[in-house]
Amino acid sequence: METMLRLKGLKKNFGENAILRDISFTIEKGNVLSIIGPSGSGKSTTLRIITQLEKADDGTLEIGGRTLFRSYDGKSVYPGIKEEREIGLMTGLVFQSFNLFPHFTVLRNITEAQRAVLRRGKDEAEYKAMELLKKMGLEDKAKSYPYQLSGGQQQRVSIARALALDPAILFFDEPTSALDPELTREILKVIRSLAEERMTMAVVTHEMNFARAISDYAIFMDGGVIVEEGKPDELFLNPQMQRTRDFIASFDEA
């Protein structure tokens, strides 16, 4: 199997605080990785480093055979702006808070980066956007503004916006945490259909059943380390570590 992402020995400090102590995992092409864990465990920071919203302090990361940073002398070394940008175009990120551009229509939210970054023509970008909107069941919302949409619809637009750039791997940072259960289901359905199309993805989520159902591999993080990892059925149904058991049990109680 082809490896899409290989992360090794990632470390990150914010001031005195070690947020990530030693994170390593790989994602195979066409697979879905889910990352679970309590708040402050470093899940989001890991995604933010991979998608270049934060810099790594130490570690090595390869995406699609290219190196975003390499551990050298206890520090991660980046390759320079051009290479970083190109690698960045291979990754997409869906935020918890959608972060749509409020002054653009739904359509322009999806076409703007295609045109300005990928230099696609107007027709091509709009065709692609409409295809994605159809897929999201939102083709009638192309002319709407984000404020006119429900949270679930906004999140679907933001997924379409990320997919429009044809990322090799798509990351989700708690994509349903701002949504009520009904809207959460909308989004989970979309992610599930992407998984069925063999889109390579990594999902940070608190939806345990969902994570178990869609992912090929699962990681439980706490305190900046990976406490336990494995096949989702094993990790969720038969966790070996007490910390993992406690965490998963806390969801059953709730």
């Binding site: 919203l53 990120l93 935020f95 972060n99 409020p102 404020y147």
Partner: protein, 211 residues
């Protein structure tokens, strides 16, 4: 009466020159100052902060006098009073605009920058196409206030002898032993500001298509 109105129109043109030239320079300069106040480079931030404190903490009338007379007392050179007046207004208003811009820039959610970064937009593109339009929408009311104040502040230009509208009115008033010219000037200012506030309302409406 006709002669008076004609004189006052001439004064109005001077006032309008002060008004537009001040906006022309201080609106963009305010952005530079705002950036200076928001930079991570401490000396620049301190310097910008000091400058804003001085501009806001002292009367504009004093600043006008300073910019007109300082070059003479310090270097023995004197320059055109109109130029001095524009310099003083621009330096003063840039400080106020900078604070308005800063409030607008800081009110934009960090997620907007992050989304733009993840989508691969360049820094310049992100600023001009993603961030700036949203900032303008948010600061319009505060900006409108400031611009209206500027219309009235142009009356201070007479301090260093610029013959703007209010100066003309005062001269006419003492010549004719009548307060009428002063009140006519008041009407002039009101009309100018009515137009300014209408324009801002229009702009706010135009940008009201999203939230």
């Amino acid at each position: 009466m006709q002669g008076l109105i004609l004189q006052m129109l001439e004064g109005t043109i001077v006032s309008l020159k002060v008004f537009f030239l001040t906006l022309l320079f201080s609106l963009p300069l305010g952005f530079v100052v705002a950036k200076g106040k928001m930079t991570r480079i401490k000396p620049i931030r301190w310097l910008t902060d000091f400058y804003i404190q001085i501009m806001r903490g002292t009367p504009l009338i004093l600043q006008l006098i300073f910019f007109y007379f300082a070059p003479f007392y310090l270097f023995g050179v004197s320059y055109d009073r109109f130029t001095a007046c524009i310099v003083a207004f621009v330096v003063n208003y840039s400080a106020y605009f900078a604070e308005i811009y800063r409030s607008g820039l800081q009110s934009i959610d960090r997620g907007q920058h992050e989304a733009a970064k993840v989508l691969g937009f360049s820094k310049a593109y992100t600023f001009f196409v993603i961030i700036l339009p949203q900032v303008i929408k948010r600061i319009l009311p505060a900006l409108g206030n400031e611009v209206i104040t500027l219309v009235k502040d142009t009356a201070l230009a007479q301090t260093i002898g610029v013959a703007e509208l209010f100066r003309v009115a005062q001269t006419a008033s003492s010549r004719e032993f009548s307060t009428v010219p002063i009140f006519v000037a008041g009407v002039f200012y009101f009309i100018m500001n009515y137009i300014v506030s209408r324009l801002f309302t229009l702009a706010e409406k135009k940008l009201g298509y999203y939230r």
